[in-house]
């Protein structure tokens, strides 16, 4: 059971073979047994989880099952939840309790899901390795000396080690897809505007999007179906988004007639040779399944990281100005005056990566530099988006590696922020263009998981879900899991 998919657990619940309480207890036992090794969860209230499960079993008995009835889902510490703390893994929010649930949290509750705690992440989602968390790093279940990726590293590790069957993450520059790739699970960043951002602590408002992290493609579709939809209270939630039959999109078993674009800028000398070979092999498999591989070019790709590291920090510096230690958040001891209170509280509360990004953003937005950096980056963003629009005139989907490397060692890249930034090279352009992107496991390099990234046209998530479903149907990468976590917390 622990490594069962969400849909398998749903079948067992529906047929009466198990109950929500039994399922919840199994995963609670596993969290207790394994979390010390991984540091994937930063908050857990076992009594509350069991109470939710009891309520779910009672609901099922009385009214029948809702879409995610009794299914445990962990959420990244970035989602506001009325129950328990919401800290975004930052010391500045050490005592924060959100006064309301994020819209997606309300949607999960209404669908009958059981919320199992908050998962570790890079502070304010700023990082690619989960090492900037105020609660300490999270480890990769495939090798606990290595990072799980970031920023949704806790959600990824928790799913990969089956401490929960599924989790929610957020993705600003790859924070769902990169950790999903490095831990051998599936993750989807929906089209920007598809999922409400209300109650998700903002990092970069024009890039942030929430999505599922799961064991397989169908589970990703099940959760996505529950969290999409217009939210009138979020100005960036799009009202007339095309509706998708998410579960029907998972039924694809071949790729006959599918045109897959292979962008030359994503298969380069600087990447790990074994990762490259693994992804090339995956594309050959797609060909066997009937797809046509078409070489394409996305010529502005090389500028994506630079554009992102102007736009994201600029938006972050504005968003994080709200941490003024007046309405919420850490306040320094004995402030001399208002300025001393602001400046010292923020210095004490924010970690070094967050400060680096705020300062970068303040600089690129500052008088005399705005045109050269921020405005220029927004124009380059337009060109990056146009690259994709042109490519999708020729192909149905685009396939790339999710990350140029497999999981690196803890501490390996912390001394040089810029090297860390470059690890997002294959995921960032998707956020700049607002497109949907999905990562799924496609093999191993250095005995560590490798991710295959699918990029689709805006609002056409069904294209990448179908491609990923067909690939998953023909391979067994999604069913593999780290041996160290095989030991059971309950029944098998």
């Amino acid at each position: 059971m622990p490594f069962s998919s969400l849909s398998d657990i749903q079948n067992r619940l529906n047929s009466g073979q198990t109950t929500a309480v039994e399922v919840a207890q199994l995963y609670l036992d596993r969290i207790l047994a394994f979390n010390d090794k991984l540091n994937a969860f930063v908050h857990l209230d076992a009594a509350d989880v069991l109470a939710q499960a009891e309520a779910s079993d009672a609901y099922r008995a009385k009214h029948g099952a809702r879409a995610l009835e009794g299914l445990p889902i962990a959420v990244k510490d970035i989602f506001c939840t009325q129950d328990g703390p919401t800290r975004c893994c930052s010391n500045i929010l050490e005592d924060f309790h959100a006064p309301y649930d994020a819209h997606v949290i309300s949607q999960l509750k209404e669908a009958g899901a059981i919320l199992v705690g908050k998962t570790n992440m890079d502070e304010f989602a700023m990082g690619s390795s989960n090492e900037t968390s105020a609660f300490g790093p999270c480890c990769n279940p495939w090798d606990t000396d290595r990072i799980p990726g970031g920023s949704s590293g806790g959600s990824a590790a928790a799913v990969a080690a089956a401490l929960t069957p599924a989790a929610l993450g957020t993705d600003t520059g790859g924070s769902i897809r990169q950790p999903a790739a490095l831990t051998g699970i599936t993750g989807l960043k929906p089209t920007y505007g598809r999922v409400s951002r209300r109650g998700i602590i903002a990092f970069a408002s024009s890039l942030d999007q929430a999505g599922p992290m799961t064991r397989n493609v169908k589970d990703t579709a099940m959760i996505t179906a529950a969290i999409v939809g217009h939210d009138a209270a979020d100005a960036t939630s799009v009202a007339d988004a095309p509706i998708i039959d998410w579960l029907a999109a998972c039924e694809a078993q071949d790729m006959k007639g599918l045109k897959i674009g292979k962008p030359k800028e994503y298969f380069i000398d600087g990447m790990d040779a074994e990762v490259r070979q693994t992804v090339e092999d995956a594309l050959k498999k797609c060909q066997d399944l009937g797809a046509e591989i078409i070489d394409i070019s996305l010529p502005h790709t090389e500028y994506a990281v630079a554009a992102y590291y102007v736009i994201a920090p600029s938006e972050a510096s504005a968003n994080l100005s709200r941490y003024d230690s007046v309405r919420f958040g850490h306040r320094c001891d004995n402030p001399e005056d208002l300025l001393d209170m602001y400046t010292r509280s923020r210095d004490e509360g924010f970690g070094s990566e967050v400060k680096r990004r705020i300062l970068t953003g303040a600089f690129t937005l500052s008088s005399g530099y705005y045109d050269a950096y921020y405005l220029k980056a927004q124009k380059v963003r337009t060109l990056i988006q146009q690259d994709f629009i042109q490519a999708f005139e020729q192909v149905d989907v685009i396939a790339t590696p999710t990350s140029p490397i497999s999981a690196f060692k803890l501490g390996e890249k912390t001394d040089d922020p810029l090297t860390m930034y470059l690890s997002d090279i294959y995921t960032i352009a998707v956020n700049l263009a607002g497109l949907p992107g999905l990562s799924q496991p496609c093999g191993f390099a250095q005995n560590l998981p490798v991710g295959l990234q699918w990029i689709g046209p805006a609002w056409r998530e069904e294209t990448i879900i179908s491609a990923a479903s067909a690939y998953e149907f023909a391979t067994d990468w999604s069913t593999q899991h780290p041996a160290e976590f095989n030991a059971n917390g309950g029944e098998s």
């Binding site: 400046t343 923020r346 400060k355 705020i358 980056a377 963003r381």
Partner: protein
């Protein structure tokens, strides 16, 4: 590029210790040096993108939809007195 880190930090309302400023200065210069490659791109006549779908800001009717939850909303504040946020003295 020479960046006045203390000035940028003050714009951000963050008081850096001297050690932090010494460490952050070169890192910031490094990051800005990297993003400077954007200047190579010809963007003549290209419109900036602020929102991926170029959506207009939606408007809604100005109707009160929430109830008074002052105590809950203030519960996370570092200092509250009689329902007011308390900060160091601003006016002499």
């Amino acid at each position: 590029m020479d960046i006045d880190v203390k000035k940028v930090a003050m714009l951000s309302r963050i008081r850096l210790t001297d050690d932090e400023a010494t460490e952050l200065g070169p890192q910031l210069a490094n990051i800005i040096g990297y993003v400077e490659q954007l200047s190579e791109v010809n963007t003549d006549g290209v419109e900036p993108t602020a929102h991926p779908h170029d959506a207009a800001m939606p408007l809604r009717a100005n109707i009160v939809t929430n109830v008074n939850r002052r105590e809950e909303l203030q519960a996370s504040s570092p200092k509250i007195e009689s329902g007011l946020y308390v900060v160091p003295k601003v006016i002499e």
